[in-house]
Each structure stands twice: as C-alpha cells, then as structure tokens.
Point group: D2
Chain length 358, copies 4
Amino acid sequence: MTTTPIPTPAATPPDILRCAYMDLVVTDLAASREFYVDILGLVVTEESDTEIYLRSFEEFIHHNLVLRQGPVAAVSAFAFRVRAPLDVDLAEAYYRELGCRTERRANGFVKGIGDSVRVEDPLGFPYEFFYDTRHVERLAWRYDLQGPGALVRLDHFNQVTPDVGLGRGYLEDLGFRVTEDIQDEDGVTYAAWLRRKDTVHDTALTGGNGPRMHHIAFSTHEKHNIIYICDKLGALRKSDLIERGPGRHGVSNAFYLYLRDPDGHRVEIYTQDYYTGDPDNPVVTWDVHDNQRRDWWGNPVVPSWYTDASLVLDLDGNPQPVIERTQSSELAVTVGADGFSYTRKGEDMPEYKLGHQL
Amino acid sequence: MTTTPIPTPAATPPDILRCAYMDLVVTDLAASREFYVDILGLVVTEESDTEIYLRSFEEFIHHNLVLRQGPVAAVSAFAFRVRAPLDVDLAEAYYRELGCRTERRANGFVKGIGDSVRVEDPLGFPYEFFYDTRHVERLAWRYDLQGPGALVRLDHFNQVTPDVGLGRGYLEDLGFRVTEDIQDEDGVTYAAWLRRKDTVHDTALTGGNGPRMHHIAFSTHEKHNIIYICDKLGALRKSDLIERGPGRHGVSNAFYLYLRDPDGHRVEIYTQDYYTGDPDNPVVTWDVHDNQRRDWWGNPVVPSWYTDASLVLDLDGNPQPVIERTQSSELAVTVGADGFSYTRKGEDMPEYKLGHQL
Amino acid sequence: MTTTPIPTPAATPPDILRCAYMDLVVTDLAASREFYVDILGLVVTEESDTEIYLRSFEEFIHHNLVLRQGPVAAVSAFAFRVRAPLDVDLAEAYYRELGCRTERRANGFVKGIGDSVRVEDPLGFPYEFFYDTRHVERLAWRYDLQGPGALVRLDHFNQVTPDVGLGRGYLEDLGFRVTEDIQDEDGVTYAAWLRRKDTVHDTALTGGNGPRMHHIAFSTHEKHNIIYICDKLGALRKSDLIERGPGRHGVSNAFYLYLRDPDGHRVEIYTQDYYTGDPDNPVVTWDVHDNQRRDWWGNPVVPSWYTDASLVLDLDGNPQPVIERTQSSELAVTVGADGFSYTRKGEDMPEYKLGHQL
Amino acid sequence: MTTTPIPTPAATPPDILRCAYMDLVVTDLAASREFYVDILGLVVTEESDTEIYLRSFEEFIHHNLVLRQGPVAAVSAFAFRVRAPLDVDLAEAYYRELGCRTERRANGFVKGIGDSVRVEDPLGFPYEFFYDTRHVERLAWRYDLQGPGALVRLDHFNQVTPDVGLGRGYLEDLGFRVTEDIQDEDGVTYAAWLRRKDTVHDTALTGGNGPRMHHIAFSTHEKHNIIYICDKLGALRKSDLIERGPGRHGVSNAFYLYLRDPDGHRVEIYTQDYYTGDPDNPVVTWDVHDNQRRDWWGNPVVPSWYTDASLVLDLDGNPQPVIERTQSSELAVTVGADGFSYTRKGEDMPEYKLGHQL
C-alpha cells in the first residue's frame, strides 16, 4: 500500500467490462445465508458447508457474491470481469509493473470462475480479474421465482481509501472513468465514482481510513422493490439491519437503501441511475457542504455510514492494516461543532452551493 | 326469479356493511388450489379435502372465498356482512316479504361464520347475510408473507342479470347506492355499479343472460402488483388464464385485470377506485358507445368477457335456469356489423359521447 | 377547555361522514399558494386576495382546505361533513348540552359551504359540522391535470391534546371509533386514531401540549407519488420542507411523508392504510417502547415532530391557550437519558414488545 | 438496396456508442409538437418554424429527435454516435468500400451536431454517424420539470427489412451484437435485436416490406410512468393513439407501449430490459409460434403493428422504394387460417415451444 503517487504503467491495462462479484468472508455462514438468501432473496447457484455462491436474477455468470466461512469478517476479493482471456494476462503484467503482488490461478480462486489473477493493488485492495466463467440460467423471465424485493443485478462496489485523489488517478490509469465526485472549496476530494459499464459506477472511492470495503450494491427494477425490503425487515422485526435510507442520492440520482449484514458488511440496494457510456459524459462535482449531495431530500447521514467499513484481506488471507485518512473527513466537515452526530435539517448549514451542473 | 317489477318491501332492510365472501363450487379442488393459493397467493385460513377457506392479507374475518369441491362449477352464495346480529333477522324478514325462499342456520352454512340466512333473491341469485364470524390474524403488516402480487382485500362481486334496471331498483331498495352506470340514448341500462362500503361497488349488475356470476374481484395496493401477476403467469406459461387486461377502467377509474380460474370462473384483480361514501356522491353515467367506458385506453373488450359467466345455485344446490336478456346487448351494440368480434380502435366508432361528467 | 371528565350528552350525536376540510390561517398567502398549489399541486376551486379554496383530485365537494390570510398562523376550523342537513341541528344541540360555545351560520363560514355550525369543543378545538356544499368537478379521470405527486383525497386531521384518554372518550361519544393507539405498561395513552369513514382515521389525538393542530393529511394513490414529492423538493432546493420521512408507519401501516408549510403548519402525505368499516374492526395497541410503532423501519422520529404544532383559534379568532401535557411524553419516553434527540437504531432500545396483534 | 449477400468490408468499422437521434419528417409540425411535447413531454432544446429539436430528460447531447416539417412523413436519418471524431472517417470509408452513397458535412446535417457522415446503407436505410455535438443540461435531477410519464432516455430504433438474416449479418460486421431473435423451425428469421450499448438493443430488424422505420423507442424509469401515458391519452380523449399495449415483451423482457404519432410514425415507450454488455452475453432465440414472444402475457398483437411502418428517405430526400418480404411473414404465421386478424388466446396455437433458454 502506498500514499505516494502511483505511477502510470507503460503496460496496456486490461479491458474491464464491469464489477462482477465480491468474495466475502463471513463469520457465521448460516446467519449470512439467512440474510442474503432468506431475506434478500439472492439466488443460490451452489453451496457447501463453507461457501455459498449467489447471483442476482438477471445474471448469467456463475455468481455475483461468494460467502465464505472464515475467522475474520472481511473482503477476499473485488472481482472484475474483463473482455477477453488475454486481458487476464494484461492485468497480471500491469500490476507486476506497478510492483504489486499478484497470484495467477488457471482454475480460478473460486468455483465457477476459470483463469484469474488476484493482486494486492496499490491502495491495498485485493482485486481479481477474470474472463472465464460458467454460464448459468439468466432468471430474468422467472417472475415465479422473483419476490417483491428482487435483486436483479450487481451494480457496484464502494471502497474506503485515505486519499481519494490518489486512488482516482490509479483507477483512471486502469481505464475507469470518473462520473461524479465530492470536493470542497480547497480541492480536497471526499469521494469519487468510477465506471466501466454504462452506469454511474462499477466502484467508488470514499475518503476514510482504509483500505476497507464500504459496501456492495445490488439493483432492483423499481423503487417499490426497495421499499418492500424495508417493510419485510420490519415484519421480521429486523429493522435494525437498516442503517440508512431509503432515500434518493444526489450523487448518481439513484434511489437507495443501506443494510448491514450479520457481520456488519454493508449492502446497498440501488435503482435508477443514468447512462454514462459516452466518453465525454459530463462529470458532476458536488460541494461537500451541499446537504443534498448524499441525500437529495436533505435527510441526515447516520455517522456509522461514514465511520464503519469492512476489512480487506491480502493474498494470504490476512487483514490489510488500515491507514488513517489525514485529509479532512466528510463527517467532520458536514456536522456541527457541537459534536452532534447528525447533520440536522435547517441547522448549521451553509448556503446551498450547487455543486452539480444544474 | 322474476322479470316483472320487484315490489319495495315494507320491512326494514338489513344494514349491509360490505361484500364479504363468495361460496364457490369448483370441479377440481386441487387445480383450484393451485390457481388461488399457489399462483394468486390468497391466504389459507383452513382447508379440508373438500373445502378451502381463503382470505386476503388485510382481512380479519374468517374468509373471503370458499372453494368447495362439487359436480358443477357454480356460485353457492354471494355473502354480505351486516352491521349487527339483528340485521340477519331483518334480512330474513325482508326476503320473506318479497316471497323469496330463505334458509336460516344458527351455526352458519360454512366454517368460520355463525348465524346466517341464505335467500334465493328476486333476480335468482343466492345471497347470504351474516354478522357473526371468527376473527383471524389481519396480515396487513406481514410483508414477509406477502408476495409481489399480494391480494389485500375482497373488493366486489359482479352479477349478470337480464334486466339491469329491474335489478338496480331491487338493490337500491335493499340499501345499495348506484355510483356509476352505462346507458344508451334510449335509456337502456347495460350495467350498474352499486355500493355499501365507501368504494365504487360491493356488487355490480352486468346486463346479459342470467342469473350468472360475472366475477369476483380482489384488490392490490398498487398497479405493479397486478402487472406482476401477469408476469408470473407468463413465467408459468399460463398466460392463457389472462382473459382481459391489464388496463384502466373508465367506469370506476380502477386499474384492472381479468383472469379465468380452472373452471372458467372469472376473477378480477383491481386497484384504486375512489371514495363514494357521501350520500350525494355524484353518479357517473357512461354512454354505451363511449369506447373508453370499459377500457379508458380504448383497448377492445374480448367477446368472452361479455358472453361467459358462471352458473349460480339455488338453495338446494341446483343450477338456476338462465334467462335470456331481451334488451340490446353491449357486445352487439359496440362491435361492427361485420361480426368482427373485437371493437377495433379507430374503426366503426361513433363520435365520442362523453357520458361522464368531465 | 377542560381536563376533567367530559360527560356523555343525552343528545343524539350527529352522523359524521368524514373529515372534510380545514380552515387554515396563513401569514403569507402568496408563499402558502406556492407551497400548496405550485409545489403540492392541489386544485384551486376559487381564490381571492385573501382566501384560496383548494381540493384534492378525487374530491367533489367545494374544497378540502381553505388558506386564509391572517395575523397568526393557526387553524380556524376542523370541518366534518355530516350525513344530512338535520345532523347540523344535532351537532348544535349536542355541543350546547356539553356547555360548549357554538355558532350557527345558515350561509356557512366559508364559500362553497352552506348551513354550518362551529363549536369550541371540550378539548378547545374549533370543530365545524356541515352537510350543504357546492359540488365541483371530480377530477379523478383528469390525468392530463394530475402531476406525478397528485394528491387525490383528504385523508385525516391530527390534533395535539394533553390528555389523550380524555379526548378519546369524548370523540367516541361523538361517534368516532378507535382503530389503533399507543400505550405504555402503565396504561398511559400517547396517541389514538379515530375514524368515521372506512379508513384508519378521520382524526387522531397525539398527546402533547394542546389544543394544537399536529397535521393535515392528503392521500396519493401510490408510494412513488410520495417519493416524487421529495424528489421535486430536492430539485427546487427546498428539501428543508421535509421534516420526517418518507417511511412506513407501524400505526396505520400507511406510507408517509411529513412536510412543513411556510408557516410551519405540518402536512402529511399518506397512502395505503386498510379497511376499518366493520363495527368489530380489531383495535391495534402499540407499546410506546416499540421502535417500529411510528416508523416500521425503525428510523428515528425527529424531535420537532413531537414538539411542534400549530395554534388553534376560538370562535372569535383568538388563539386558544395551550395547556401542558402532564402525563409522560412520547419524546421523553423514547429517547435516551443523554438527551440525544433521536432514537438511535440499536441503542437504548428495550427488547421489542410487540404491541400489535401479529 | 440489395438482397444479395452484403460483403464484409476490409475497412475497420466505426466504434459506435449508441443510437443517438432520429431525424424525422412530419407533415404537420404543430400537430407533431402537440404529440411529442405537450403529450409526451419531451424537452425542447431549440425550435424554429420548420424544425423542433427534442431530447429526453437524462440526455446531455443536443437532441434525440428532430421533427422536421416536410411533404412526406418519413425518416431522414437514423443517427448513431461514435466514440471519437476519427470514427466518422472510419464510417465514411467503410460504407464507401461497400459501394454505398455517402455524404459528409463538417458542420452537420442538423443543429447541435458537427462533423457527420450520412450514408444510404446496403439495406436502403439512411444512417448517420457523428461524434461532435453540443452539450446541453442533463435534466436528470430536474424533478420539478419531469411529469408523471417522463421519458428519460432514447432507447432504440426498429427497422423493417425484407431479409432479416441478410441485414443482421451486415450489422454484425458493423460491430453490432445480436441479443435476441425470433426464428421458425425452418431457420427463417422474423426479427433480430442488435446492440452496441449495454442494453438489449440500439436497433432491431423486423422482417417485412422495407426499408421502412418500424418505431423509435424512449425509456421511462418505471412501469407506472408508461401506464400514466395511457391514462393521460384517455383523459385527452386521444386513446386512439394507443396502437398496442401496454404489455410485457417476451423478447427483451421490457414493459412496453406503442403509440402512433399524427403522421402514423410509431413510438414505443419502454422500460426495464437487462444488461447485455458481456461479449458472451447469451443470445435468446424465440420460436415464432410461441405466443408469449411478442407479449409475455399472450395478448394479441394488432395486425397494424405488423403491417404499418414509415418510409425512409434517400440522401436526396426522396422516399426509398419498398421491397416486399418474400419469406413468410410473422403476421401470417401467427394468425389462424380464417383470416381472423388477431391471434386469439387459446385458439389455433401450437404447443408452446419455449424458444428461450429458461
């Protein structure tokens, strides 16, 4: 991990298609299964006593999430699919030039995925790149199986890193494009959203102590699907799993909900951002003091959303040390001096500064 | 059954609260269970080898539908709940004065219902009136049990009768109030909607050969719930069960879908009509030639919707003879002279005659 | 106003149909017009320099809300429609027997309403009863006029009163029926919901310093209509008008949003409670410590929602004095001892006590 | 235009991003403006007496539709945006190698678009390729401007051509990828869907007499937005503009509605297909006899949907001659021998042949 500038490799970066799956260590597989399968309704592709492979209803690759029993709740890999088998080679060479540790496995690190490379990236995150995967049934038409809160796609990852500007440059070199960010008047970047597929992001960088995983996000078709998930959690007397929302994001314009799984891993349910696939797609910069940036309705962000995140593992399966963010924190910047931990509506708010382009 | 004027009894009519349940004979209980429970998701209150008691998610009385194995697909009773036990006595006396056959059972005709009276009404329909019922859990908050097409209320019945004007007068005497109707320029009434509770109807009269049951209607909360039912039927490769819709009614302004159960009994799924509880609630009269009356979007009504209906039984369980409608039929009036069985958009249509009050 | 038991009159109470309109004093009519007409989209029936008459899209009586320019933001009348002209006489006699001040006007207190009586009720609220009203076009079918957040009905009022038990007894005598309430283990009532029409309430009593008006509530058809209102407020950079929500109520099971108008009058947008019209409709009692009672998703209630409310006027137009609630307050009971003004998820929460019947 | 095999050029095809706009000739600009602006709510970027430039709410390029007053209702251009300025050169060279007529304009053919090339493609369609465009405000966050049926994106074109197999090969050479198609047991292709962006299509080929334009499609966020458009047309007494739907497509799994503009140009409103961006995205082949392929609910396709389409223009502005399809027609194949022009539910239907992969 580095906090010094990350050089731009001479190597050609791999052609990344999209975020594809997360390899997630959980400490109580049965409890996690209840959360992801019984409550959220993700589809089980296959499972054993120690692993569960899950996918969303419109997915045709083997899985979007691996739950793996382990001693420490953490992320084993943020996995991206690349356009062709050759791109796995490109990824391996790219990170080797960066001086990163890499590991290549012809038969994959997990079931359903073939030739892959995992790396400890310059920010300390375990990234995986693969092309080869087993196809499974796309359940898009299987309305008989889809519940009222059906998760239809993996949408994005979100990573916590101390220096967003640094991380952003590295990901842009890797081929990602920034769609939106949050800055202050001094040019400090608090968060950035980066995409490969034609949505607002495949991953985002959130400024904070890192490397840590902020959340993984699945999409629904409509807003009522997300509301249903809240209603169901209420019915199950598990509303404490709702951390934040539902609400409308300013950034991304999507409708959202944040949940916490039994290990505290954060899961976003997300719907309806916009097309970003043109190379000159306008970047939207939000002022960190704009209280509609995180919630378009001005509802406060709970402090835990800023402070809590999951550990990430190195290639040996050990947690990466967490480096403190030294730049100003969004939580500190956007709450009052009284230490009151919510941004309250109508109080302590600077004049609105419309950071976006409207 | 009579086609001569029905006298207004001197007796006080019972104070009817609402349509409450239908007692329905089906010829293959397992097939009906698949339709009403597995596909539509109605809640089973109790069941045996010969009967299934079903309710909607917001109901607290014992059931809204009884499926009863029998030799002929037909309706045994259209059951209405009255305000107080005494109203059962009033109902019995009222129909006796009308000269109708009545049968009183202190322990009810079906499980979960106490003291009741069933009558063969002047139009030939088997009506039941009861107050006493067993309370069951109202599952309104049980989102964990509610599927994406959850049926939350019984909304109304719809009955086919040869002379709508005659039947309407009888039901108005009984305490119903007309909210909307369809007429032509000669004053012939093709259909009328009548209510006790504060919605557009508890029952409707559709002009045609009768007495027959046109449909029973359940409500969902939102339109997407109805769309989901169609999507699920498609996924199950049972889309042939969709007879008409989904669409927006002109009459009632509700969003609708018509299905046919395994015996051909018609079931409507319905949502979002309007409040009608004021005594001077404006009656909306539609012109039979207005092609938006039955579908606000002008989509054609399939002929079977006009011609098909279910038999009704007398108190001995024998089908009531069906009397032909002698007034002009809505099907004949609203389709072209070429015998083409759909009303086609933009063809053979008179100038719009806005029958309603807009 | 009294805090001693309110006697049950020997007089027959009027047969109340429903809450019908609120007569509301605002201090800046232009600002209020922007809020209620430009933002919320209520329909203007008629208006002058000093008054605006507004209705919802499915209404056929003259108005559901009168905005009246005045010196002090307050409620002039909570108006209920009765079943027949004679019920106005009954209302007058009923309140006279209670010793309340009454005023009868054959031509009404406001435009569009005829013979009416206004009273200063035993709790200090200005209640009006009327039958006679001018019919206007019911715009239910006018989708060309309805925006994405269309308010289709007036749903209910909500009143703040120091002693909910006392007020509830008075309203039950008047003919209202309790559908839900919030109590604690000592039998203190914190709030009660009372209905005449077939929904969860026409008015509610919220325990607090009173008499004051807590809110007036309008209905939409679907949840997305409410979400749109939030989205629009964000777009107008008026998200500070959102006080609480959107969310799902535990009580009533409705989806909700609370706004504050330019004078601070609270407006709820509400959709999808359940049918309550049977006389034995089950009453749902919630435990005040159940953190899903006010928000089914356990999201905290902002303190202002408990503390702020609007003044009400006597028949001379002077604000009624506000009497302090001496029973324990819901705000105090449900927040931590640290004075932290939000109930935080997962902290300081007793074990869930399921007060409702599930 | 050719019906003989279209050679694969040696030239590198342009890197097409997406369908971008249609240049459409209308015969009554005021009537078209009412349809596209007043009814459908598309955003006017700029307009003159002879041209109107329209865009969807999430668009940032100058327009998605040009309405141009002219003598014959027809399509002047199907315009695609390419990744870079150089791709316009590539497009020009590519079509020149194909022997197609091309016209290059450095300042564009329409306002808001710069350097472009238009071609008469091998199928007879006027295709345009451009990169340079004027950016305009993306109105994604402007909920204050978005109506209940807001069109948020241009989704796709649909073209009628006699030989779908031939056309598909040509478009695959150009870089499009097939996502779904309809075939029969003899291998005849009735329609094919082809994409560049990550959705089911940027354009589709429908078998029939051509070259003609079948429709242009705009997206909404949710299904209720589409239902609203129907409701509004009903309110305006313009329901005859609804040609087909709303419904759920089998192909694409999207929710749809087809309208006809004042010239008969067909417009689809569309929402919620699935991600297709992976190179091995599974192709779904539907059996032409599967009555859920065009409507997942089995509702009949109106004959006009198969037979009617708009003329397309050559680069001189003259209508291209229409060549008859000689392969079997989907209309003929899927309706009964009695000439009955609707596919009726449950009649004349072969056993379902599930052409798709479920």
